[in-house]
Symmetry: D3
Subunit: 334 residues, 6 copies
């Protein structure tokens, strides 16, 4: 089993100590990006995870790939190119003050990625699972084209493809609507993670509840073996709940499986929670665990992510399973 | 509309990471002071805010004024003088351990301020609102005299005057009681913020509840158009509630208006909460917003202050109004 | 009254900002150890507290002793020796993610301590109370022998001896079980702190509830004048409750006294909570306060420890007593 | 006397402790830019200095302007606009390892500045001196057009115009050579700072030595009242020398005046040295000091800049004059 | 041998990374003061060193004493009192930019010290050497009186007394000139450290060279057994030379002994260099080492101080002696 | 070409800002070790570099391997085991104060490494060059045995073997002298780096100068194709010179080649200088560059290492070659 994630890794710049942008004189430097986060999670779970992106051959681009290697991801499929490394500024909220993100990713290596720049046959050699997200086709037409190129090659090579719909309102600036681009891409995928609003926006599918939305989506996209969703309630910036859902027409009894719901007080860093869920789901499905285990594992992994700084979910399988067993007390292990 | 705030700005020295004074090897450096905090809030709301104080013409004094300029306050009305810059040491509490403040402000520029040192006619030129607090007359007789000088000039120039009663038990060391000084000063003011204990101490006015206290105070000081109060419940150092009250004999129906009460979990920095309320109230009243809006705005601004490091409430009108609309979930804005 | 604490002080290395071990590029350096923590607490309460250990005569060993001196502990009874200073790495948990400790204390000065290395008659001269814990006899046979040597001398000199049972599962690697070592040591002690599981493991004593366990232990060890226990409920890593129990056959009415139970939200650092309780109990018992005061004081001290960074409980008697009076609101003291 | 500087202010991100880009986990955040640096120097010298640029109306753009205000610069002539704030990454060298700069300024507010976006008549109202540099016309044709617009208005309003030629090899990417753009701009200026290589590149003027180059340039551009140059010898990254030259056909005797040469060991931060010279020169010329004083002041100011962190030369006139008097011993002032 | 040092310890606040006061957002916190520095040096040399001062009984005052204890000084002779802890702000220079000190020590515990507040008979019990400096009598008449009280008791108890003349131009504000106060104090001393300018100012003694100045001073103050001086050449803030001189009428041959002169490149922190010399001299004289050894030891200790951060000279005798043997190469010891 | 380095990687703990061990409250965390440093250098030069060691399967052990991966080294040949990760404390000197290292590496994974724990046939598969140092056989007999096992397999597989003699006086504690162990190991090597003192100690070979020592060593060990040496002069801790020598009986004319000598002022971090030379030499020899290039490259790489923090020489071939061309001026590259 070897999972390849495809997307954009960015430099993340965060004022320390929950200061506001206007106050800070320093930035903490980390790296992140939806698909890179999935790759790191899987590598930390002990799986063979690789990552393909396009970054400039500068100290900043190489630092991004080096950070992935540090956490066990094979980033050698990546190519060098583009004028700059994408970056994002993150102001961490607190209590009743929400977090703010300022994206500065235009003209990055991925934004200017074109078909043919990545040799997909080579990149997918030996790969059993390919993961992408709705962010990549949102940055430019050429990136959307390159995404389709990748998915078609994967389908041709019988590689399972998963997609996190991941809608970002401030992208999709290049003249196309998601509804013009995403359906064809999703038709080349086998597993989907997404919420109701995004499904409505991308595919025009609506329903009274999760079950109906899933049912209609599965009918529209018969290629999808699994559909997943997460639900978050936010009491305030540092106190949320989290729950996961998994749907498949292949399930014998209930088509819809729900995880336990976790209460998450005193959250440390909620960025990357959905990516942690996605990685947990891939872990469970790719290893053919029972569906209930898969969704519980994904939800527990996502829950614990909220207590780890940075985009990356630096967490072992044993730690996730400990939470699944109900060890929520946070005792000192010594 | 131009608001001038008058008072003392101090250097604030805080051990990082909620360490105790005995533990720390560093101090975080910020600047603050009740009236300066009001000025910064108003400047951040986009209003024309100025500040007048007296600091030594040293690197430390100039740094204090530079910090105000950074946050948009016009500090040019200030004058240079005095032996030292006032400072205060702040040990941030946590949970069941409260915060501690050690003041070190004796002999500062404001403590040795005298009548005539500030040219009030010039300082108040073009000003429509003057704000002061009970801290300034508490530091020395000459500072109290200078305060009266300012208020009398303001009244003569038809400038609205607001006062935060702001009782500090460890001041008033120069041989006078607040009850000998504050009544005359308040008679030269139009808006008052203060709690019941302070009103009793300063003016000898007591009542069964807020309404009665306000009614009696308004009767005693017919020059007061608006009287305001805030109520805080403290579960522990990092979990409080906050609510605001506004009273005016000019209100048509109920003389007393109450704001929504906010629950404030995981507080980051509660210093300056009252100043944030005062600034919000000035904003609402000076712009002639409906009274209910004014008190809601002031309370929401004060609530959000608890989630911003430092004395200064670095916050926009849009952010305050978002909380007023019920957006307490602290979602990531991206 | 002079209390001597005997045990191992270690260098504590903690990644800042609740980072994981894999993420950090810095360590915060503090010092700690169960018995050293007790000594610091007592010195901060204003008592005459001394400490005896064995550390190498290196900059690291001297830094450990210097830190004790800074907090008022007389560390001059300590001796120099051993190949290295023990150290422990602490990964601070958050919310649902628990803390992790990696001990690296093998071959330290205390691990290689032998009978005769410390001149106990000299070290105990003028001492009225000796405190030790179950950690020291757990590291090596020779350290256990040295412990017995100390206790026997103390009993001979009519010095009160207290013991915190303090079971650490990853110690006891030298071929002996606690049940072969601890009973004889406890027979030379007068005050014991321990929980039910540890009592069962060390002495084979079990009971339906705390009262029964205490009763049986007191019967087995008639030398024990006081037996104490604490109970913690952990909702998650940063939210626990805490309560203390004190038992004595000398009490006139109820043999078992319970403290108030404290709710501890937003915990800053829970390491050393039990040591803070132990110190509070020694303080109360050694000063002959009423038993109810003693257990309330110990519990309040332990509760406040959760809001102080590091192993050391940097806290005054007045601060503990303020919490005992119900001041849980964490107000700003200024 | 009021000096307006026009150009681009950028966020400067520097790994702390002279770490390499590949090593760092933090960035120190400062702001800088050639013309902004000149404005800050002049404000710190006590002069009336203003700054006009174009930055996005984001927290990052406002932070840049706030920083200028903190150091006394009136940034209110600036306009909001553009997709992003320009930024540059700075790896500080040491000894034999040189510093590295990675610019990331494409598509910034200034890069997309167009004629008409700034109301120059209003911006130049009351201004007596306008300063620009060769960086602005290098970023885009529209920025070059806007620069010409500014200069023509200034000449029309009889405002003295100074230019730092400031060649940056990695700019000029928009299809024009400097030689197509700079001559016309320089014809609308009165004071020029530049080195021989740049003069050759921009204007095709070459000479055997500084004197000849200056003579020919002055002949070609009779509008130039003053021409200045600096010479730096670099023994290694932290040890340079510095010297200034000033030329004018108006000088009675020698047309060329030279400053003292300073030895600069253990340099702290050499970025902005030339801007410090430019500011010192403007200070001297605008105040009509003797030419020798002007060039000595400029050189001493530039020398001291090497011992101040960040782009901004935070320095008083008294400090510059102290160095001019030969106080190079760096004694403790107390 | 037990040395008691008497004077004022202050909080030292330094912007990190050689930032200017106007730039910093943090202060590094250390403690220092001329006589406290001497005490720490002696304790680090392994001698029995004690310190007596007067600080407020606040967390800040106790932190100052705790820091002394950490470095081995017995601060228990000190008394609590006074309104505030003295503090000083230190801007570290670099290269050609000198350091700046802003004192903020008025109204401190020592400034308001009066005769009778310290029980000198008790404080001097067992003491063999008392050290004071010219700073203490410079702060107030009452502090000067208390100094005389101490010296007279010391002389009565046959304790050797040393004085560092230590002139600070910005003190002596209470209406007396040093020449009215210092002569009587020096008459009660046995060892003096001071430079020619200070000797001229305090005692009106001048001479063509060091030898003549010493000769005249020794004649004027026959009570002085030893007179010492240091000479520093400053190439720039981070590159000085250092040399020591010792004079005594008791020396058999030359009355004047000179040390080796050290070249000090890349200085880290020069504050406390003279105090390090004083401590080295006391060490040598009190232990009756040969005079040449004493002055060489003092000079080497002072030289190494320039490479240690903070006021305190954290250095062993072995390290000083290694430099005396010519080990200037700074090799890695491993 | 694939180089495998074999040895011990340790956690390096350094007090920030050149503080002394007794002063610090933090440690900067890096990783290093002689052979790991060589591997990182080679990976940064773009070569295929791998590393084999034995570390515990803990977060600390995995962090060490992750750090190697970040810098491009393939650490997958390493095995997990042993009780602890070796570590060393580094106090950075300054000027005339030298650096201090405290090793704490006993009982580490490498110290308890035994023959058979590493499958050398597998580890050396595809490898063309194996590098080891004299540190590994110095820690224990079993580690020495494992080293011989590795070398014999390498020789059998026709892999070039290089050795850095690297004498550490405080190792060799297991009862054997280097002269009993090193000769046999060196007989299984082809390239040697070492200084005269170490050659005398290990092999009893002495000579009047480098040439004679090399000649005799080459005669004694005919298996050695290349012998190298470095010479450092230390003016003080931050100012050294550096020069390299390379000897081979295969050279046609002079058997001894010398590099240029570099002056190294203001050194940032000299740890790892020799390893940087070793890596440069391997780079040159393995790529069959002319011998003069090889020794110049090695010396220039080692020189630049002194300006990079940490053990690892994060440097490109282009940067080394730029210094070789004489670019010592440390200009800003932009």
């Amino acid at each position: 089993m070897k999972i390849l994630c495809f997307g954009e890794i960015m430099m993340r710049l965060t004022p320390p100590n929950q200061q506001r942008f206007l106050q800070t004189t320093q930035f903490d430097l980390q790296f992140g990006g939806s698909e890179a986060n999935v790759a790191v999670s899987l590598a930390q779970f002990g799986e063979n995870a690789a990552y393909v992106t396009r970054v400039p051959n500068s100290d900043l681009g190489r630092a991004a790939l080096g950070e992935l290697a540090k956490y066990g991801v094979d980033a050698t499929p990546s190519v060098f190119g583009g004028a700059r490394l994408g970056l994002y500024f993150l102001e961490m909220g607190a209590g009743l003050r929400g977090s703010k993100v300022i994206y500065d990713r235009a003209n990055s290596g991925v934004a200017t990625l074109e078909k043919g720049m990545i040799d997909w046959e080579k990149a997918l050699n030996g790969v059993t699972w390919l993961h992408w997200s709705g962010i990549t086709p949102a940055v430019s037409q050429s990136a959307a084209d390159a995404t389709l190129e990748a998915l078609q090659m994967a389908q041709k090579m019988n590689i399972t493809v998963s997609c996190d719909l991941n809608y970002r309102a401030n992208l999709w600036q290049y003249g196309k609507q998601p509804s013009e681009i995403m359906p064809e891409l999703l038709r080349n995928s086998n597993v989907m993670l997404g919420d109701g609003d995004t499904i409505a926006l991308y595919f025009g599918i609506k329903g009274a509840d999760y079950a109906e939305i899933f049912e209609k989506t599965a009918a529209e996209f018969p290629n999808l073996d699994y559909l997943a969703m997460t639900a978050r309630k936010a009491f305030h910036a540092s106190h949320n709940t989290y729950k996961g859902f998994l749907y498949s027409t292949h399930f014998e009894n209930d088509k819809m499986i729900e995880s336990k719901e976790y209460d998450m007080p005193e959250i440390l860093d909620r960025i990357g929670g959905g990516d942690a869920f996605m990685a947990g789901l891939i872990y469970g499905l790719a290893k053919n665990t029972p569906p209930q285990y898969a969704v519980e594992f994904a939800t527990a992994a996502a829950t614990l992510k909220h207590y780890i700084r940075g985009d990356f979910n630096v967490l072992t399988v044993a730690e996730v399973e400990s939470l699944m067993k109900g060890n929520t007390g946070g005792r000192v292990s010594r």
